[in-house]
């Protein structure tokens, strides 16, 4: 840098050629800046991401404006929002969207609640804490496909584990996945089983970062254990719960793997169709590329609307 300074100083005293020199110097500055010099390093992933992810999103958006279906090429001559209109008018789309929303909200809130409950129990001090923690977290290590198969067996009407209990209690066996009224709840439950361990870990970390003298201060102030947790401890977990909630919601939006693995084809059990499964079915089974692209775009918007408030919140907090 020092060398450039002197160059400029001497150059600028030569008079008429000042303008050209300044421009060239600026260019030189630019080319030597950290930004440009490091570009081969961040540039390559940037280009790859740009093409694969953002390019893909852009192309998907473009296709959704056409009426591309089946074999052949898309025609970009006649762009319209027809696919979106069709989607919004289609009963099965609205149903899938509604069920997706229920899955989103249900799965996230139950996972958070269960995770918090488990974290509080563990924080309070139980024996074999580490073992219990591991057991709760293990299901996360399973792939969606394995989880789906396990729960398929558990839910099997007749001699699935759950129905063994139910019949032992004297009730008739329940068709968990076959009954559209409770199938979605059954799916949510299986997914909660898999992910509440994650919520638990996040909350436990949050709980353990709280200094224990707050517990004591609250105790001396006259608050019972329950009140202490409710009024003092849990409100301080806001940060952790927001983070965990966002991650959980994104998992919920991607529950496709699980639903696909349950049935083995593109049609999930009645009552559990979500946007992701609908999109795959429309695009890859029926060849309705443009329609599928439209659904995909709407799913993207849904995901963004989930994460945008979090980003705004973080920005306001100054962390972004």
């Amino acid at each position: 840098m020092a060398t450039h300074d002197t160059t400029e100083a001497t150059d600028s005293t030569t008079g008429p050629s000042k303008e050209v020199v300044t421009w060239k110097t600026k260019l030189r500055y630019f080319l030597n800046s950290d930004f440009v010099r490091s570009s081969p390093y961040w540039g390559i992933p940037f280009v790859l991401m740009g093409i694969a992810v953002y390019g893909g999103i852009g192309y998907n958006l473009a296709i959704s404006f056409t009426d591309y279906a089946g074999i052949g090429r898309p025609e970009f001559s006649n762009l319209s929002l027809e696919m979106y209109r069709t989607a919004l008018a289609d009963g099965s789309f609205r149903q899938a969207a509604f069920q997706n929303f229920v899955l989103l909200v249900g799965f996230t809130s139950v996972s958070l609640a269960l995770g918090l409950f488990l974290a509080v129990l563990l924080d309070y001090g139980i024996r074999y804490k580490e073992t219990i923690q591991t057991i709760y977290l293990l299901p996360m290590a399973l792939s969606f496909v394995v989880t789906a198969q396990v729960w398929l067996w558990m839910y099997s009407p007749g001699n699935g584990v759950l129905n063994v209990f139910v019949t032992a209690l004297g009730f008739g066996s329940i068709d968990w996945l076959g009954n559209p009224r409770i199938a979605l709840a059954a799916v949510i439950f299986a997914l909660v089983w898999q992910f509440s361990g994650y919520a638990m870990v996040v909350f436990l970390a949050g709980l353990q970062s709280l200094p224990s003298d707050q517990f004591e201060a609250a105790k001396v102030d006259g608050a019972s254990t329950a009140k202490t947790y409710i009024r003092i401890i849990i409100p301080q977990l806001k940060q952790a719960s927001v983070g965990a909630a966002v991650v959980l919601m994104l998992f919920a939006l991607k529950a496709f793997d699980f639903l696909y693995a349950i049935t083995g084809d593109y049609r999930p059990p009645n009552g559990t169709d979500i946007l992701a499964t609908l999109m795959v079915r429309e695009a890859f089974q029926y060849g309705q590329w443009a329609y599928g692209a439209a659904i995909a775009t709407m799913l993207l918007l849904l995901s963004l609307s989930v994460i945008a408030p979090y980003l705004v919140y973080q920005y306001r907090q100054g962390a972004l």
């Binding site: 840098m1 010099r37 081969p40 390559i44 089946g70 074999i71 052949g72 099965s92 398929l152 839910y155 099997s156 009407p157 007749g158 001699n159 699935g160 066996s173 068709d175 996945l177 076959g178 009954n179 559209p180 049935t263 083995g264 084809d265 593109y266 049609r267 059990p269 009645n270 890859f284 089974q285 029926y286 060849g287 590329w289």
Partner: protein, 427 residues
């Protein structure tokens, strides 16, 4: 200030960049080349069981005979060809066609409209297959003025397989079952008098319910009612009758876990002596055959679906050729081979379907197949299957499955299902 030319772990900056650029170029080059194999590439959906054995025998025989052709035969798995169709669709859309693929001909070919290769001259006429193949098969392999497919085997759909021990115990003589109401009575008897599950049934996928409904419709209201339906002119009442019968069976005579199982497990119930009878395509025969203790004529037997005597409900597997073929000559050789007697006998004996050539000695086939083959050549009516692509276009078939899936998989709404079905075929 950092000296940016400093070595990074021993590699100079410029060397590092150069290495990356070369790597990227090599990677791109690899992607761009794609599939430039000169040989034959055939896709099919037979990943396991009898199908896999059959296709293996077929391909082995082909490679023996045509050792100069480099053939790749890929299986793509999944129930009901779903995955296979997706793969084919992707390949064709990406303009990267394979040489040939297994699929259902008939109206199913509509999804490949415009991208098919015509084999009429090179294969059908050259080998005289038009005369030697069963009429219906020839029809089904003709599409849009072209003949882009060669059939390999046919499964029959109007079957009722039954467990002889179960029927004996209930005192039912299968020959007496001449109509759906007879069947319902029989199921009721089995339910009351024995411990057997009367009707083995898988309900996991919508097409299973659909195909059974088709049988009931044809049985109750005649094949014409069915043909009218697939042509867009269905009789709503007849359809509702059939739906209600199906509902009755599904509500009363099947296993509790039916909605979670497919036809393989349902058939297993029959084999393990827990269920009395099952309806399905005669690919189920392949499963029965695999079990040494479960034999045709002894532990199990067959009647046409009650009420469908003299009818052969047609299902057809064929090898279809895409246009713009990467290996036209080799493909023609393959397709010709598919149509030969040898291929047809060997494949079908293992697959459990029947050949389409009319000039085959029925003794060359296994017992059960022999009987079915003779019926193939000698029936009164040959309605095409709905659930397997032959009767209506793919989109309509999907909608039919949708109608069953949405309205007729517990809870049952016969009216809504009927309307859905009618809407599906009327587009």
């Amino acid at each position: 200030m950092v000296d940016n030319d400093k070595l990074v772990d021993g590699i100079g900056r410029r060397t590092y960049l150069g290495g990356i650029a070369t790597g990227a170029a090599a990677g791109l080059a690899g992607c761009a080349s794609g599939n430039t194999a000169d040989g034959l590439e055939v896709l099919h959906g037979w990943t396991g069981g009898d199908g896999a054995d059959a296709i293996e025998t077929l391909t082995d025989a082909f490679e023996e005979e045509h050792s100069d052709i480099d053939g790749t035969f890929e299986a793509v798995g999944g129930d009901g060809n779903v995955e296979l169709n997706t793969s084919i669709l992707q390949r064709l859309t990406n303009e990267n066609p394979m040489s040939s693929f297994a699929n259902w001909p008939g109206n199913n070919l509509e999804r490949y409209e415009g991208v098919l290769m015509d084999l009429e001259e090179d294969v059908w006429e050259a080998e005289g297959l038009k005369e030697n193949m069963q009429d219906r098969a020839v029809e089904l392999c003709t599409f849009n003025g072209q003949m882009p497919a060669v059939p390999i085997g046919s499964h029959r759909l109007n079957n009722l397989f039954y467990n002889t021990a179960a029927f004996d115990e209930a005192g039912i003589d299968a020959e007496d079952l001449g109509s759906t109401s007879d069947l319902l009575d029989a199921l009721e008897t089995i339910d009351q008098d024995t411990d057997y599950v009367p009707f083995a049934h898988g309900m996991r996928s919508a097409f299973l319910g659909l195909q059974t409904w088709v049988q009931i419709l044809a049985s109750q209201s005649g094949v014409d009612a069915y043909t009218d339906f697939i042509e867009g002119d269905g009789d709503r009442d007849a359809m509702i009758d059939a739906l209600e019968t199906l509902q009755e069976i599904q509500e009363n005579y099947i296993t509790d876990d039916a909605s979670a199982i497919g036809y393989t497990q349902a058939a297993q119930n029959l084999i393990s002596d827990e269920a009395a009878c099952i309806h399905g395509g005669n690919w189920l025969y392949g499963m029965f055959r695999a079990d040494d203790d479960f034999n045709y004529g002894e532990e199990w037997d067959w009647i046409p679906f009650p009420g469908t005597e003299g009818v052969y409900f047609y299902h057809l597997d064929a090898f279809v050729t895409p246009g713009d073929n990467p290996s036209p000559e080799e493909t023609v050789e393959w397709q010709k081979f598919v149509g030969t007697q040898e291929a047809q006998i060997e494949f079908n004996n293992l697959k459990g379907s029947v050949p389409l050539r009319t000039d085959i000695e029925s003794d060359e086939l296994a017992d059960f197949l022999k009987m079915t083959y003779e019926d193939l050549l000698d029936s009164d009516e040959y309605p095409p299957t709905l659930a397997h692509g032959l009767a209506v276009e793919p989109e309509q078939q999907n909608d039919c499955e949708g109608a069953i899936g949405d309205h007729f998989m517990d809870p049952y709404d016969a009216e809504a299902a009927a309307d859905g079905l009618l809407d599906a075929v009327s587009e």
